[in-house]
């Protein structure tokens, strides 16, 4: 069994929608399991849900607290509240969301370093949409 073979198995599994595969070479044993279709997933049109910063437990995500238009700065000609690399404290304003002429601050629950700004200024955002990824500071 080498990686080529494993790759071929994985490809076959993908193509046939197999969820479990067992092999035992010379005593010649094989076992193949298809999904049972239990979770009837109707064909969706919606984009897949936003993923959190998987794998890295010190990455945290700041989501939109309401829907509206997201701005990175307080005015078109002002500097952004934060940019990648900035270090922020809990409670700092990271951006604003405008809904029905009202400006709503987006604040951080945590202190940390901004590692990603996920939405451009002036873009509409849904409730719960990911706006920033922060790397939590040790002890913050």
């Amino acid at each position: 069994m080498d990686f080529d073979e494993i790759g071929q198995i994985l490809e076959l599994m993908r193509r046939h929608g197999i969820v479990e595969f067992e092999l035992e070479r010379d005593g010649e044993r094989v076992r193949i399991l298809k999904p049972d279709g239990s979770a009837a997933a109707p064909g969706g049109t919606l984009a897949p849900p936003v993923e959190a910063g998987r794998g890295e437990p010190d990455l945290v995500v700041v989501d939109a607290p309401i829907l509206g238009t997201f701005y990175r700065a307080s005015a078109p000609d002002a500097a952004p509240f934060v940019s990648v690399g900035d270090v922020v404290s809990a409670g700092d304003v990271l951006g604003i969301i405008e809904a029905m002429k009202l400006m709503n601050d987006v604040t951080s629950e945590f202190g940390g370093e901004v590692v990603e700004v996920c939405v451009e200024s002036g873009q509409p955002v849904q409730y719960g949409e990911r706006l920033f990824t922060l790397r939590r500071q040790p002890g913050a």
């Binding site: 239990s38 009837a40 309401i66």
Partner: protein, 443 residues
């Protein structure tokens, strides 16, 4: 016609509106709460926008979020469904201000009909028979004084109430005294308005209603519905046409509701509700300025698509037919399949493991449910509406029985066992029932 409609609702009615829009060639965007993000309405609409968390207050009752969402997706109209903000003058105003059409009556009609005491007065002036009752009052003392002129038994109602919420019966002056304070506090808490009014209590009535449709120039009625089978003022089984209505009363009320709708400048779909006393005398109680849960029974007997008509009217195209085209054919029954323990009404949210809806002739199922879907505890318990149409009431009942017998829902409890029992009860089969039937039947 609109090019995109924002659907500000959830569950089966959101899907129902998607159906209507698709048939009219209109794109749909569903404004949904976070847990509803993978609902069938969201999946089957052209697009969707998440407007808030699970809590209705922050999502489906959030006017700012809905109007913002409409602008964000570029919708030219908002359909509010039923419940939530469907009768909200505030949403209608906000839509107007934002240049988006609210699919429903104009704000002034919503305000009038939202004030139940004022609506009664106006409808009386427009010629409808109303239950004797009082104006709104602010203090228990006023209430006690007004009750003397009205007599007992009577009903204490919240001026801003509706849907059967906040009702209390007072059979004696002592009852009244005992109840007024609590009713006032409840009304303030539930509707943000402590005002109450009193109404003569109609004992053992039937509950019937008329469906209307009105556009810029005309009002039409599409016949009546029987909504007498209720539990705690929540309808559980509806029929069209009404069972306990003489042809003479039917004809007379049909004409009167059309006149009343014209008198108040009504637009779009609406319902006039009446109590009918044991002598057969009808009394107007309220008008509902929205599409009703039970609208499919009217659609089944008339062949009219009420939700499409709502959209046409809102788009300024007018109702697509004349009063003389309206023909009631056969009989239709709707059973509301709720995620509730059948006898107690205790909610039963959870994951639906198996779901096989009945098909075949004369059966319609409106539902957002499917195998593997979640019935959330945050929202109302309606999972599916089963509607059966037959050439007469007997065939409709036989059809409903077989539809319920063939409806498989596993994983949650539903009201179907109760419906199955009702559909075999001799008094129901004979059409002998009043609004207290179901509660006496259950206990």
């Amino acid at each position: 016609m609109f090019s995109k409609v924002l659907i500000a609702n959830r569950g089966e009615i959101a899907l129902r509106i998607v159906c209507a829009c698709r048939e009219l060639g209109i794109r749909t965007s569903v404004a949904h709460s976070q847990p509803d993000g993978d609902s069938l309405a969201v999946r089957l609409a052209d697009e969707a926008v998440c407007i808030g968390p699970a809590s209705s207050e922050q999502s489906y009752l959030n006017v700012a979020a809905i109007v913002t969402a409409a602008a964000m997706v570029g919708a030219d109209a908002v359909h509010p469904g039923y419940g939530f903000l469907s009768e909200s003058a505030v949403l209608a105003d906000a839509c107007q201000a934002a240049g988006v059409v609210f699919i429903g009556p104009p704000p002034h009609v919503l305000r009038l009909l939202g004030d139940k005491a004022r609506a009664r007065r106006v409808m009386q002036a427009a010629g409808l028979p109303v239950v004797p009752g009082t104006d709104s009052f602010d203090t228990p003392e006023e209430g006690t004084r007004l009750a003397e002129t009205l007599g007992f038994p009577l009903l204490i109602k919240a001026t801003a109430g509706g849907g059967g919420r906040g009702l209390r019966v007072a059979r004696t002056a002592r009852d009244l005294e005992h109840s007024l304070g609590a009713a006032r506090r409840e009304a303030a808490a539930a509707f943000g308005d402590p005002r109450l009014y009193l109404e003569r209590y109609v004992d053992e009535p039937r509950h019937i209603e008329f469906q209307i449709l009105a556009d810029e120039t005309r009002a039409l009625h599409l016949g009546d519905r029987e909504c007498t089978l209720q539990r705690r003022h929540q309808k559980l089984l509806e029929e069209a046409p009404a069972v306990g209505l003489s042809e003479e009363t039917r004809h007379r009320l049909g004409g009167l509701v059309v006149k009343a709708a014209l008198a108040v400048g009504y637009r779009n779909a609406g319902t006039f509700e009446f109590l009918v006393d044991r002598g057969g005398a009808p009394f107007f109680i309220e008008a509902n300025a929205r599409i009703q849960v039970e609208h499919p029974v009217t659609e089944m007997v008339t062949g009219v698509d009420l939700v499409k008509e709502q959209i046409r009217v809102a788009a300024g195209e007018g109702v697509s037919f004349q009063q003389t085209d309206v023909r009631v054919t056969g009989h239709a029954i709707e059973c509301r399949v709720n995620a509730e323990q059948a006898e107690t009404g205790r909610p039963s949210p959870g994951v639906i493991r198996a779901f096989v809806a009945p098909g075949g002739p004369g059966v319609r199922v409106d539902t957002y449910a499917h195998a593997g879907c979640m019935v959330w505890p945050h929202y109302d318990a309606l999972v599916a509406k089963v509607v059966a149409h037959g050439r007469d009431r007997g065939e409709a009942i036989a059809r409903m029985r077989r539809a319920l017998d063939m409806f498989v829902i596993e994983g949650i409890e539903t009201t179907m066992p109760l419906h199955r029992r009702v559909l075999r009860e001799p008094d129901f089969l004979a059409g002998r029932f009043t609004t207290s039937f179901l509660e006496r039947f259950i206990t």
